[in-house]
């Protein structure tokens, strides 16, 4: 199988340009993937630093470090940066690196647009971050920016926030168009849809979600802008508008967005577990159908974020039923992964550890999600730390863990070097213990009655906040340690074989050398 790679090498291989301009002008899917992944890492550390400010302020009751207004800016920016800056670009980076190699294509379908969709982002995030230094402070209305707090009562810097969100949206839509065009047009002969790796499938579905909902977000912020400056009253009851309509529009984007951040993760885990169980994925086609069902359901459940907003009871009943239904296809996925492990021949290298961590802790996040979906009980959970615990279990130990797992799994293919296995295992155990110390006690805080987004709290919440903060600092430090592992792996390390993992399957492992050549699959491979 690996002989195919030498054939690749014969080609008149024009390598990358040198210097800084390589990165500015590149249209190569691997370079752009790398750029996305680095941006995402920088944003992870930036958003993480903000989380450290939040956890330091909440370490004990009383206002110690920051003003309440700045605290609100921190929670807002932390959320925006982690969602739009860390998780989403990381998945786009992985898509860029992997999709062409997985389907046997030479590059993405629209390479110049690819360059543009990346290079918009650093400007968008610079603009967003600059609001913190403006007069009146940065956005301080939460990442969900509910009107009228984000319109009539917002600081002037909100206009920069709106423009930054527009830029992020344009970038995401372009990235999604590129993914769809690549997958639908550039598969190697014989690579039928039902032969595609699940990562490709889940990204195809994700890309459609992105195209469907990013314009909705753009609409929401545009209405905000005109409400703020051009005399409209979309969200102002005094002018005939409705503040609750903002929430409907926002969550019509926001709920599919949640799945945008988790579907590619499902694809990654579905690649890693079979490799290290040395056994094919159980129920491939049911995985595809489950992913599609989750995506379709995601458009029909948005108002479960708004059970306390005062909806008609019929609406609440419908959204409750639809919401708990999502646990069926999600459950199918969990069962499929566990069955894939069953009677396999497992080894536990770092990617597998992170994948197993994902399955366990994502399931915990799923359970709390089911609890939150039961509308009458949500009366007590809503806007408390129980919700904070829930979405951090699905986004940190879910989405982020899958990204870390993907790094360890594919980095030998990208760089040609194995990462240091001991350090990788330390990273896993350190992160996993810390993240549970960080987020598990937040369930208790929420049930005991601590609302989210408060800079100071009543003293009965002291103990668990202190524990949570200690876990937070440890988890933050673990990701700085991860940065060291990443740099060490890029600089050198044991030479990786072409197949990399004993049980690995897929074109990128079976047909390409490690590191993968700058231009791969100039001639399409044969798929049996």
């Amino acid at each position: 199988m690996t002989t195919a790679t030498t054939h690749e090498g014969d080609h008149h291989d024009h390598g990358p340009a040198t210097g800084l301009m390589r990165w500015v002008t590149t249209t190569n899917h691997k370079d752009i993937g790398t750029l996305y992944l680095w941006l995402s890492f920088i944003m992870l550390l930036t958003g993480g630093a903000m989380a450290m400010v939040i956890r330091a302020e909440l370490f004990q009751p009383g206002l110690q470090l920051v003003e309440p207004q700045f605290f609100n800016s921190m929670t807002t920016m932390h959320g925006l940066i982690m969602v739009f800056g860390a998780i989403m670009p990381a998945f786009v980076g992985l898509a860029n690196w992997l999709i062409p190699m997985m389907i046997g294509a030479p590059d993405m379908a629209l390479p110049r647009m690819n360059n543009w969709s990346f290079w918009i982002l650093p400007f968008a995030f610079t603009m967003l971050a600059s609001t913190l230094f403006m007069e009146g402070g940065g956005p301080a209305f939460g990442w969900t920016f509910y009107a009228p707090l984000s319109t009539t009562f917002a600081p002037d810097s909100t206009d920069f926030f709106i423009f930054a969100v527009h830029m992020m949206g344009i970038s995401s839509v372009m990235g999604a168009i590129n993914v769809i065009a690549t997958i639908l047009n550039m598969r190697a002969p014989g690579m039928t849809l039902m032969k595609m790796p699940l990562f490709v499938w889940t990204w195809l579905i994700t890309a459609y979600l992105l195209i469907a909902v990013m314009p909705v977000l753009a609409g929401a912020v545009t209405m905000m802008l005109t409400d703020r400056h051009f005399g409209t009253s979309f969200f102002d009851a005094a002018g005939g508008g409705d503040p609750v309509m903002f929430q409907h529009v926002f969550w019509f984007f926001g709920h599919p967005e949640v799945y945008i951040m988790i579907l590619p993760a499902f694809g990654i885990i579905s690649a890693i577990i079979p490799t290290f169980a040395r056994k094919p994925l159980f129920g491939y086609s049911s995985m595809v159908y489950a992913s599609a069902s989750i995506a379709i359901l995601s458009f029909m459940v948005w108002a479960h974020h708004m059970f306390t907003v005062g909806m008609p009871v019929a609406g609440e009943l419908y959204f409750m039923y639809a919401t708990v239904m999502i646990s069926v296809p999600t459950g199918v996925k969990i069962f499929n992964w566990v069955t894939t492990m069953w009677r396999g021949s497992m080894t536990f290298e770092t990617p597998m550890l992170f994948a197993i961590g994902f399955v366990v802790m994502f399931t915990i996040g799923g359970f709390s999600g089911l609890m939150l979906g039961v509308a009458p009980v949500d009366t007590q959970y809503h806007d408390t730390y129980f919700v904070v615990a829930h979405f951090h279990y699905v986004l940190v130990t879910g989405a982020l863990y899958s990204i870390i797992a993907a790094f360890y799994y594919w980095v030998p293919k990208w760089t040609g070097h194995m990462y240091d296995e001991t350090l990788g295992k330390i990273h896993f155990w350190w992160s996993t213990i810390a993240v549970n110390v960080l987020f598990f006690p937040q369930h208790f805080l929420g049930l005991a009655g601590m609302p989210r987004r408060i800079p100071d709290y009543s003293v009965q919440f002291s103990e668990f906040n202190m524990i949570s903060s200690l876990g937070g600092f440890a988890f933050g430090l673990a990701q700085v340690f991860f940065l060291y592992i990443v740099i060490k792996t890029i600089k050198g390390g044991e030479k990786a074989t072409d197949i990399v993992w004993e049980g690995a399957t897929g074109l990128e492992f079976e047909q390409l050398a490690s590191p993968a050549p700058y231009h791969s699959f100039n001639t399409a491979p044969e798929i049996k």
Binding site: P68, M346, F348
Partner: protein
Amino acid sequence: MVFKRLSRRLFAPVTAMLSIFFSSFAHAEYVLNMTKGVSTISNDIYDLHMLVMWICFVVGIIVFSVMAYSIMTHRKSKGAVASNFHESTTVEIIWTLVPLAILIAIAVPATATLLDLEDSSKSDVSIQVTGIQWKWRYKYLGEDVEFISSLSEENRDAVSASSPNSVEHYLRDVDKRIVVPVNKKIEFLFTSDDVIHAWWVPELAVKQDTVPGFINTSWAYIEKPGIYRGQCAELCGKDHGFMPIVVEAVTMPEYQKWLVAMRGEQAALAASSDKEWTQAELMAKGESVYKATCAACHGATGAGIPPVFPALAKSPVATGDVKGHINIVMNGKTGTAMQAFKTQLSDVDLAAVITFERNSFGNTVGDLVQPSTIKSLR
């Protein structure tokens, strides 16, 4: 021996820290689970919460045990050989249908509770709750009782001194409690003057957003007299964490007595606006009103947080024509966080706080505003 002593010396600070850490646990009043509450609906919600949680526990234990067993036995290091099965329609159908059945089992009691929760008809007492940045206005419909409730003064001092342990109910105490009768159906009507807030008292299982321009309803039937505390649950700006709720549930006769006392207090307040106040009286009163109402934005020293919250020290409004000053305080400024305080403060409060602002923070206008002036401008 030396070694032992050395290690004792080295670890002394660590053990001291640990013992402080754990002793704080011994005294702790922390809670792990949701409150059962004191209303009919809060008990139903608690039962439903426990039901769903136990289902999650059981499913979790089954799934994680299978996983753990597999991880322990099906490993290459133990010589496990991978089998090759990867498809079974029967199994897939089973694990689609079983969760579906469980969901239906949850949905039945959940529907009943939700229908009950949303039915606030046939109430005995109606209270309108208005969220205002960052306090609550309560209006007892048909009872002619209306007041504003905000963070208590000693709590404000504890916040600015950053000493949470100096007060008994840090961030959970108010200047005026809302008093309600037990064993009566109390209807709450929620609205807001500015942004969206959420009125939440866990023991009553009432959490409802207050939306400007709209009215939401909820209800409680409290079965046990007592004092129940909660706070705002929807991010509403800078002082979102500092707008507590205290509900005192009492017997019906006590409730009636309280209503009478409140009416008397309000009448006395109205009468006091006809009296002539001295500069010293107004300044003293004004300072406490300022601390409770204005300091959140304009700062304890009148420095504000420009440009969003302007300074009052040397400000053109506070040192200029008194009519302009009275106008902005009474009617607010549209498009900003400056509220129309004539709906929140009494004539005396308004007169006092305006007088205070004109003669503090280095402002030396010297004039004073009488409550009667404010009354005539209403």
